[in-house]
């Protein structure tokens, strides 16, 4: 301000008004900063509350909580391994189905589709993410599960039945159904983020490959996919994070039985599933504390997944921006 002598002059004539407005500026800045800070406080508060409420269970079982296979509210013995197994296995099944399909979608939408189709098709895939998970559960229970029981399971048993995964009773409801419904729900996440990363690959990469005589697929493989690999890996981690925490759709089709079975046809139980369906029976403190500890585990794992995934995607995007300039 000292650069403009006249502001001193006028400043002295109306000092009060000027100070007031300056106060307005700093008040507003600090007000918005407080709200921004509240986002951080919220994240810490979630961690702190879950952590302190699971103390009882952490002290009682320690690390055995993670490896215990018994879940017995009557005898007050709680081991979370069946739920961890259910969550991890159903998520892996989902990834096995969803990753190739999502990469196909991302490739088609970013590299191959006619320009006019790209935007409406991307929107339709994004709409998949907008359908509420309880509606997927409803559809899964009444439409998908019968199809899995009558078509998919007999097919898998007759072709891959020599593997222990595809043997056992064919209820429809079970680990396989849980994995399939999860796959449907994470396809939009993985394909949308992969597509974004692939679109960010500089065109010079593609042009160089084409100029060397590569076909479209060779260009995609060598110039786009390899270049975007880190970001695509991040997209897959984001999808995995979503699969690990998904609750309602899975709870309705997976059978909710706490057991560890190699067969994908058998019912299973997930971490979020046990929280959602047993909180109401959890009247004893230790029972409730154990359920909250499962929630804490889920929170920590999904948070880690998201942090790693965002860093990977962010790093890839920054690399491209550097390359473009």
């Amino acid at each position: 301000m000292s650069m403009f002598p006249h502001t001193f002059l006028f400043g002295k004539i109306k000092p009060k008004r000027a100070r007031k407005s300056l106060i307005g500026d700093s008040v507003f800045k600090n007000l918005t900063a407080i709200f921004a800070l509240s986002v951080l406080v919220l994240a810490l508060a979630i961690f702190y509350e879950l952590y302190s409420r699971s103390q009882l269970s952490i002290n009682e079982f320690g690390l055995d909580f993670l490896t215990g296979v018994e879940w017995d509210p009557v005898d007050q013995i709680f081991g979370a391994l069946p739920f961890i197994y259910g969550t991890v296995t159903s998520s892996i099944i989902a990834l096995i189905i969803a990753v190739p399909i999502s990469l196909g979608i991302a490739t088609y939408l970013s590299e191959l589709a006619p320009k006019r189709l790209r935007s409406p098709l991307s929107f339709m895939v994004e709409l998949l993410a907008a359908v509420p998970s309880v509606v997927y559960g409803l559809w899964g229970l009444f439409v998908m599960v019968p199809w899995i029981r009558d078509v998919l399971q007999p097919f898998l048993e007759s072709t891959l039945g020599f593997l222990p995964f595809f043997q056992g009773p064919k209820f429809g409801i079970g680990m396989l159904s849980g994995g399939v419904i999860l796959a449907i729900m994470i396809i939009p996440t993985i394909s949308a983020v992969s597509r974004e990363v692939m679109l960010a690959v500089p065109d010079t990469q593609r042009e160089a490959a084409f100029a060397l005589g590569a076909t479209r697929w060779e260009t995609i493989k060598t110039a786009v996919l390899r270049y975007a690999a880190t970001g695509i890996f991040g997209a897959i981690m984001l999808g995995l994070g979503r699969a690990l925490g998904e609750t309602m759709a899975v709870i309705m089709v997976i059978g909710n039985r706490p057991q560890i079975s190699l067969s994908f046809f058998e019912p299973a139980y997930t971490m979020s599933g046990v929280i959602a369906s047993e909180y109401i029976e959890a009247t004893q403190d230790l029972y409730l504390s154990s359920l909250i500890e499962i929630g804490l585990l889920l929170f920590i794992v999904t948070l880690m997944m998201n942090i790693i995934a965002r860093l990977l995607v962010w790093r890839t995007m920054r690399k491209f921006r550097g390359a473009k300039e």
Binding site: G104, S119, L138, L298, T302, A309
Partner: protein
Amino acid sequence: MMIKRITVRRIVDKLVASLALLSVIIAIIPLAGVIIFVTSKGLPAINLEIFTSLPRPPDEIGGGIGNAIQGTLILIGLASMVGLPIGVLSGIYLAEYGNNRFGSLVRFIADTLSGVPSIIMGLFAYVVVVLATRSFSAISGGIALGIMMIPVITRTTEESIKLVPNTIREASMALGVRRWKTIVLIVVSAARSGIITGIMLSIARIAGETAPLLFTAFGSDLWATGLNQPISALPLVIYRYAISPYASWQAQAWGAAFILVSMVLILNIGVRLIARGKYRR
């Protein structure tokens, strides 16, 4: 030899292109399946009664889910009271003052929070509100959903404010308007449609959330009487009726799903149409 290799490469190329197209079709099948079944099974259950009356026992004919629709609207309102101020103001901070370490941290945490499972938000609201007040309540449900709105609104507000050209800020400040007034009166108003888009998308997202409501709003068979009482919601009704063994309740679950999916899709498509004119990519 050379010619043959070229042919093989072309065939591989075509094959990959058709596999990629096939993936898109495979992904659209469940979307189409959900919409077809929700419409064909849900539409027959839709009549005036389902909107206006209370649930009945499964062996009685009729009844409706009016209280669930009312509950969902109340919960959206409560959630907005939590999510809107925090989300919009944090977004303003990030866009206008957030070019520093603190800003990057908030941005990063907001992004990671949006990936935290919704059931965790419910558990948090359960521990903080329900256990403290010793009662399931509409308020605890609204808080759980409101927390879920924050990251979405924060980031979309930030993005849309950043789209406002700097010349507008400069013009306003050149006229002697203070920075905070410039932001509140000029910048936010110019970014209005983007901010509203973010709010509508976050509402579409929470309207269908079930898991965080199970142990907060809990559900109820009556009309809402107070914000400190348990309250019904469409997703809760869909869940309870779907896993019930009664055909009449299952039919109503499809009806409720039809109402919910229509709400969510209309919000999404509406936002898309509004945004299209503004920021065509």
